[in-house]
Subunit: 348 residues, 2 copies
DNA sequence: TTGTACGCGTTATCAT
DNA sequence: ATGATAACGCGTACAA
């Protein structure tokens, strides 16, 4: 900037204003400055700007990990929305570890981020480390794995609705003994999916049967193990709603191994729309979590809060509607000819 | 810092030095400062530090997108390695678009990153925008989709070896007419995979047959379409080596649809170890690309260059060895009982 | 061992 | 419409 100012025989103030399109600078001057800036390949130093203004153009993300389908897609959505708004995104992984989550937050604070998006680690039971953000006036939006309550900003999928839709669908297919592979109940996503399952049963006038609920860690093996338990019962289930695709798939494998036909003897539904659910035989009915929308919604909310800095902002919880994807694993009566499922995957 | 200095009746210099563990500060003083810093919840301002020192603790990543299996895993590896070294990572997506790739670089320069990791967009044919980095003294490491040549720093998979291993394996299974679903040849990864295919054939004394090579965009549908073409030929192939898992899967579906048995009538191998390859029937033989290692290796190389700033550093190309994962889609003679394949996927 | 004073690149304030 | 100046938070050359 100093170079430009010298060459144009104006002050740095003028240059700065011209570059940031300040109204008090004449169009002629602006043109001259911009042209010279281009010529010299001037790059604004955002750090200096942020230091001076006390406002950076950085957002922080803290996720448990970047793998599988869910988090990468959400991050994808976040980065897309953020960059459109002129923000860059710093990403941190907590690796499902509170201590690392804490360190990530400190790191982001040091980096002077303008706001933070968090999905809680599985081992986070105490939320005090997030107070630091508040204390420093850094807005926070949770997504998916959130702190419950009206006092936080959060974007979540309606997991209850997802559980409800799945179970309801299985009921519609004529199933009456629907088992549920539940996830760790201290995570509200799994609690809510189970609640949706209960709600659908109740609505259908079926009493919940504890025998039909198996608690798992959501892995494929545990799904298979759970299936073994369920099939060993005197009156085994005629359908399974799994809280996740991996365990649902494990259950399906075990059922097939024992000679059951899917969906005729046993209908199956999973959760998360993992890409592999499209290529199993049969393809697995599942719930799409609107990952990318979730990321976008989270960024929108966060930017809103950032812009409302100073003003009082009433915390808001955004709830996204899940989408039920009906596939052969649960379709007992095929009414319409089914299109061949196609992976719309990337080239790698 | 000013507050601490005042409270301890020392200068900011002393505080600064104590916090950065400078040798000229006595242990007693250090303790006092650190204690008070903790009490006041002091967070260093990295921006100010970076501005002053001209060196930030930020690395930039530019990837085409964050989806599928490959890039998320590499990013995972990068973030892990970077944070271990005290760096934060800013992530940008080019969305396979040169213009956006350019903007991402500008953005990262503005953010004053200490170094950049890039995997080229599919539409990048001209590399001049990367000169800006050099001009500004910002080290650059390419990974996977790289600029060819000895003059750049890069980490790549030995794609040729991957193609060779796959084809060699198919030959070992007794296949003699091995088709190849090739990818866009201006991307070296696909060129190299094809080269490996050629090499294996030559080694086995088989002449390459252009009839057996179909060029695709790597999508599932094109794989199926390619399979149709191949099976319509007078002497159809007895094996297919696909440059990617999606097109290999499309080919397999089409083959099954036409009544062929896999692997007996047609053996199939893909590339990339997408998670779905484990759950198809049969599970698809593929090549693991060592995604996480690639990320780590890229960071290691980048940090080496950063630390060698000023010194002359000879550009280096790191080549990772691919791993062939043999699965039922290509195994004609099962010699050992196969363990049940298990998705080691995350809980979502 | 500690302190003084300046500068990193930018922008807000006040003056012209 | 433009300029002079100070300040954001930190690190360091130099002096003490």
């Amino acid at each position: 900037m100093a170079d430009l100012a010298r060459e144009l025989n104006v002050s740095m103030t003028t240059v700065s204003r011209a570059l940031s399109d300040h109204f008090s600078i004449g169009p002629a001057m602006k043109q001259k400055v911009l042209k010279l800036a281009k010529k010299y390949n001037y790059q604004p130093n955002r750090m200096a700007s942020a230091l001076r203004k006390g406002k950076s153009k950085l957002l922080g993300i803290v996720v448990p990990y970047i793998e599988g389908r869910f988090f990468p897609s959400v991050v994808h959505g976040i980065e897309k929305a953020a960059s459109k708004a002129g923000y860059n995104v710093i990403i941190c992984q907590s690796n499902e570890d509170v201590a690392q989550e804490r360190r990530s937050l400190d790191s982001l604070l040091s980096a002077q981020v303008a706001g933070v998006l968090v999905s809680l680690s599985r081992t986070t039971l105490d939320y005090r480390h997030f107070d630091k953000l508040r204390a420093r006036g850094v807005p926070l939006v949770y997504f998916d794995r959130v702190v419950e309550g009206e006092s936080v900003n959060a974007v979540v999928l309606d997991d209850r609705e997802g559980g409800y839709l799945s179970t309801r669908h299985l009921l519609d297919q004529g199933c009456r003994r629907i088992a549920h592979l539940a996830g760790p109940q201290h995570l509200n996503i799994y609690k809510n999916r189970r609640q949706g399952y209960f709600d659908a049963l109740r609505e259908a006038g079926l009493p919940p049967d504890e025998e039909l609920i198996v608690y798992t860690d959501m892995q494929q093996q545990q799904g298979a193990e759970a299936m073994r338990q369920l099939l060993a019962q005197p009156s085994p289930p005629d359908a399974v709603f799994g809280s996740g695709d991996y365990c649902a798939f494990g259950a399906m494998q075990e059922a097939k191994r024992q000679g059951l036909r899917v969906p005729d003897d046993l209908a199956i539904a999973g959760f998360s729309n993992e890409s592999f659910t499209l290529v199993t035989e049969p393809a697995i009915t599942t719930i799409d979590q609107r990952c990318e929308e979730m990321g976008q919604a989270a960024v929108r909310l966060l930017l809103e809060i950032i812009e409302a800095q100073g003003t009082l902002f009433t915390p808001r919880q955004v709830v996204l509607r899940p989408e039920l994807l009906v596939r052969p694993s649960s379709q007992r009566r095929v009414e319409v000819a089914e299109a061949v499922p196609v992976l719309n995957g990337r080239m790698y």
